[in-house]
Symmetry: C2
Subunit: 123 residues, 2 copies
DNA sequence: CTTTGTGCAAAGGCTTTGCATGCTT
DNA sequence: AAGCATGCAAAGCCTTTGCACAAAG
């Protein structure tokens, strides 16, 4: 089981305070006295344990965020990067229908909504 | 405007024959006498021009595929990687609803369906 | 005391870029 | 002839890994 080190606590703490998804490097910059490799290792582990979700930015960077358990999607602000969890998913019917039509089985789906949040819209 | 070189033709030709999305490196392996950098440059360009679509694999690699113009999604086989274009999109209503509820504007959505194609299911 | 985590630096993997050369137009 | 594409190798980035040391259980 995971040991409770000061670094791990710092990483988890900072991650929880983020509205947007962050990369290991970004988190490393915000934390003092935590090595970059340690940040990478902890984030990877949190993701493996299901404690954190990961997304890929367009440039391929891996960003992490703490989010709800279970099936959900993300609503991302294109301006500030804020991420909101969306539990309300109405895609399953559509997914099944499309899959059946094409002869695919065991369908899963992934979706992401991108928009401009009210705060950024005002600015 | 793009010059018609032998390499570019080879790249585009091979790309069109792919059922699945391919990375620059994979394409480079399949082509003889085409430098890796050239493959990267041409794929990037095709994507910029809208002639090719790009997806990110879990490990962050960028893979390319030729696909339909306009709004569509992808149905991907988790076994063989085959990609089928899906024009039938019923997500807009849902996307708008969710966005409005959260105060987001100018929503776009991205979705991906993953399943097992009939061929792979049989095997 | 044993096990696991951390730091640092080196190594890895994918992608981009600089520069001289060759092919298109 | 002028300009853009190609090749090769070097450089860039993000991420992972090896190893010695430190901390946790």
């Amino acid at each position: 089981m995971a040991k409770r080190t000061a670094q791990r606590r710092a990483i988890v703490g900072e991650l929880r305070e983020c509205d947007a998804a962050v990369t290991a490097q970004e988190l490393h910059e915000r934390l003092d006295g935590v090595g970059l490799a340690t940040v990478y290792r902890n984030l990877q582990r949190l993701a493996d344990e299901g404690e954190a979700d990961t997304i890929r930015r367009e440039n391929g960077e891996q960003a992490f965020l703490v989010c709800e358990r279970g099936h959900h999607h993300h609503l991302v602000c294109r301006s500030c990067g804020r991420v909101e969890d969306v539990r309300d998913c109405e895609l399953d019917g559509w997914a099944r229908k499309v899959a059946r039509k094409r002869g695919f089985s065991q369908v899963e789906h992934r979706a992401e909504l991108v928009g401009t949040c009210s705060q950024c819209r005002a600015a």
